[in-house]
Symmetry: D2
Subunit: 352 residues, 4 copies
């Protein structure tokens, strides 16, 4: 739920929303293509990346789009109505604060700001501005199956939930991926998704790490089992697997009073061949969540044109950062670590 | 594959394609919403429907869009670059010929033209014009699962196909739905899909009708089993069920030399509850094929802007009409009825 | 349903039933092992096979069991109360008539007697004897999933059935397997199963044969599509695949007035690995139907001890032979061939 | 793996094994029926139950079987070669020690002996006797899917396992069922199954209890999440659900180095009806594990006749009791509780 306040001055319905995209890596390039080709009512007018050639290559394909090496220059470019931040995490805080300072709506890729204290500064800056401007790109909130599960839980179709089981499995991670990033980068999605699905905050985290000898092909100790508790008394377990080797798989099962509900079973084309039946597993998140990303950016453009936000708010971004920090400590110590959140500023009072 | 020829004069990339939508019923309204909200590079500039109020209601929500009672007036409206025909089948021929006469690209809902001879006139009119202009809206060609099956068959991943099994199940049909329409309206999709998946023409059709007493709730004798053969020696069976009562389900299984491949298994959120496990079945084709329709119209807009067509051609529309006519005779007589196609005009030589 | 009549003189409950097994091939050996190790209340007392060494090897492992080269000698051996015929089809008629002549209960592997006229002689011989003695080994009637489907159909849980879709897929067949045997050996199972599931007789058969070039690895033109109709107005289609190359798979889907029901989906252990999810397919019928064979022979032993029969009767064996003969003609001619059954003898009046 | 030692004096192959069944409740009655009707080479010669009428009713249907109110009297009855203990847990210790004292082979239902110290006395008594006599009825070891998973793990088909996820869901429990019994009665199965699947001992247990308000229909706080660790460095989580309300469901997924493997998906007859696809869930363990119980008792009879044991040993029974005691403390305190096992007596040195 967006924070309340007077709507921003959105462009009229006949003029497309001018979007600056910060970051021209995989995610940024994907968003540029999406806004350009798949989203009505918006166009990319600026692309920024320290690697100027990369930015220029993206901009070249789009009428009236300019490339910049500096993110702030892109924000100040002509025709920019809103910002899509897809740069690396450490660059998010400055970009967010600059956008807020300019009164620009932002869609910021997750994690919003990795450090909880810095994340809180973004929350406070937005609250002070009095207008809802920040959306955080937890795309699962726009995935059709996640939305169906959320609806089932909200309507108490099977009664109240008491347990969630989550699986988050990657094909392989880059060599620079660390064990901490299992929590801050990967389980961050489950922290947000569980908060959203349950409409509850997380109160404590514990991490179980197998100690069996690691296979040679992996640099991180995975899988791990992350167990957390909520202020509504629900227990959530998450298997996080970085180098699963077989594909990208995200599954959630809710155990409720009168039954269970689960999403994320692979499907699509199925074969019988050579003694086996079955189907294909998506190999990466851009494929698995392609529809969710499309719907997210479309919903964001529509919301910004109405002067509001969609999906996860800055508060959600902060809460996930705080839980992740507790999770990293839990991972290091093996202990159950409580989560302490700052008081929630008034504009975020009713939001999860 | 589109017919070849010099590209039509497409609008420049910075101007959206102006689309006239003929028909403001369920399908037409859905396409108006789609072009307006989900498709980049196009806008609805005219809507036509004999029920002028219905047309006006649709047009009212869109900047610069006008309503017309007459389809031909809509074609001649300012800013019309292309036509989307979603009016009832009997109105298609006149609209298609008028569009061809004006050199306008057309996306025509299926069935293109029900009568084979009339369909052939459309084929000939387009061929005479020398430019590819007609796309027929067999949306399955844009469904992700159908495309994956087509790719598997084209690549001979499991060897050559020898049998196809198809299921086409509707929740319920309107009281005016006739037994003939099982063939002309419903199995028409399988006629096209099989031709496209196999890259083969259909040579004969036979229909098996159960004679068990009909349940009271249905006005048509369903299900029926339609069996047809192709010029590549493949046998295809189709279960067509009009009043299944449980949902909308479209499934295809290809039996190939080294295995089988199937699509259309229901999936999504699954529950355990009250002694049963399982999931939901889509209730209608607009839900089941929502993504396919979106991709179809996006691909069509992009193709028209490049001066070409996508998906099924006028030839495909004619061939399906000819097969359906044989199917109706087969249904009436219980006999195997051969299909005779007209010679294929040069521009359609390589197309299925 | 067994034919009625006075019960045969069954052994007392404290003495095991003495069984003679005719045929020491794969099926016979499997039955010998089954009766010896898995069935209470019965023991193998005689094994007959023209290959005397093979018979002797089987008999050697069992206390008090003797080997014979001649089936009739085995029937006359001391302690024989009942006969299990697992010899090749051409030997069945003589063995059945000899057993009936001696008043011995028989479980005869399918096909009972391939020639319809000869099969009718067995029916008449049993009817004349006045006691129910013949059970035919259509083991699907004892498969848990088939029994659940039969119960659903009998109870009209989804209303009356109107269509059945069947799949019958083998891994590979021996070089001596002929195209005719697709009908007489393989689809024979579906002829019986459909009659039993529906409680209806088959009235006509038609066979569709793909004419696409055959893959090199196969000597029979497969798959084929066999379509038949029943006296209850139901249409049944069967895909028969002899050299599928991927496993053994038997599936049935019934399309009823208010929904569909299907059995035979593969299951068991499922994996995610190397980009694929799925499970294993059974490789042969002895594995797939192991439980059904066990339950069949147990039920038969219990029935014989009560003086009656179970499962398919001699009439069922005859009806399947008659339908198969029509099916072979249909396969040869491509035409729809009607099935003419002899009048049903009184003892079989209520049976399917 | 059974303990080693000289074989017991098994009956000759022509005489059935005489079995005394202690306990004539649901489980005992089921075993009496099983031995009598489904198991070759054994017969029930004595049934004992404090409710003598119940014992007599069971014995009445079986030739030569006698009923006793006292278990020890049944052990001393004529013709008793082996004992099947299906009486309530508190009666197990006395019965086991009496059987060991008489040199009788025993199949004891789980939990073998709930108190770890008492369980250890049984282990020691058997070890002292020098002959393998005790089998514990953890029937999952005889379930086909569990055996397939065990084979996959043993062969390292997907590499070494690092995590196990288990689900154990009951339809409903009796009013006398306590929260402790979630651990001692229900998760006891997972304690044994995980030890057996992994060939590892459990070293610590922790229990997570949702604190959301309990639904009215249940007297125990369920589901709970039990997490335990093994001496091989594997982490196992178990969802235990006593009053799930939808059926009986047991699932395990192993996460290994190169993929995952899971068992326990419901299957069988599937329907499409009223907007839903899916199938039935077994309602109780006697249905779900019917085949496993049959195979267990058959394997036990065959083993006893060879002078050995099968399945879980007395050591396994003790280890599970010790882990369960730690689990109960973990449940009460919310803390991670280490498991301390006694030294393993020599005969059990190689066994898990």
């Amino acid at each position: 739920m967006p924070i309340s306040g007077p709507p921003s001055a959105a462009p009229s319905s006949s003029t497309p929303l001018g979007v600056a995209v910060l970051g021209a890596g995989t995610m940024g390039a994907d968003h540029v293509r999406r806004v350009d080709q798949l989203v009505s009512g918006a166009r990319v007018v600026a692309v920024a990346d320290p690697d100027e050639a990369r930015a220029a290559a993206l901009a070249a394909g789009i009428d009236g789009c300019r490339a910049f090496p500096e993110p702030l220059a892109a924000l100040d470019a002509a025709g920019v109505d809103a910002v899509l931040i897809a740069s690396p995490g450490p660059a998010h805080e400055e970009a967010l604060l600059a956008a807020l300072d300019r009164g620009l709506a932002v869609l910021c890729e997750k994690p919003m700001v990795p450090d909880p204290e810095a994340a809180l500064r973004v929350v406070e800056a937005e609250a002070k501005g009095g207008r809802p401007l920040v959306s955080v790109g937890f795309m699962r909130r726009f995935d059709a199956e996640h939305q169906r599960l959320k609806a089932l839980l909200d309507a108490r179709e099977l009664g109240a939930p008491r347990l969630l089981h989550c699986r988050h499995r990657n094909l392989a991670v880059h060599p620079y991926f660390t064990e901490e990033m299992l929590i801050t980068d990967s389980v961050a999605h489950e922290f947000d998704a569980a908060r959203w699905l349950l409409d509850q905050e997380i109160t404590a985290v514990q991490v179980f790490r197998p100690t069996a000898a690691l296979p040679e092909h992996t640099g991180v100790n995975d899988p791990q089992l992350v167990v957390f508790e909520t202020d509504g008394g629900v227990v959530v377990d998450v298997e996080i697997l970085a180098n699963g080797g077989f594909g990208y798989q995200v599954q959630t099962e809710a155990v409720c009073e009168r039954g269970t509900a689960r999403i994320g079973e692979a499907h699509g084309l199925m074969t019988n061949t050579a003694g086996r039946w079955g189907g294909e597993i998506a190999q990466d998140y851009l494929t698995r969540f392609a529809d969710a990303y499309d719907r997210e950016v479309r919903a964001w453009v529509a919301a910004v044109r109405r002067g509001t936000t969609v999906g996860a708010t800055a508060w959600d971004g902060y809460a996930v950062a705080a839980v992740a920090a507790a999770g990293v400590e839990a991972q290091r110590t093996g202990r159950r670590v409580p989560v302490e959140l700052a008081p929630r500023p008034a504009p975020f009072m009713n939001a999860v």
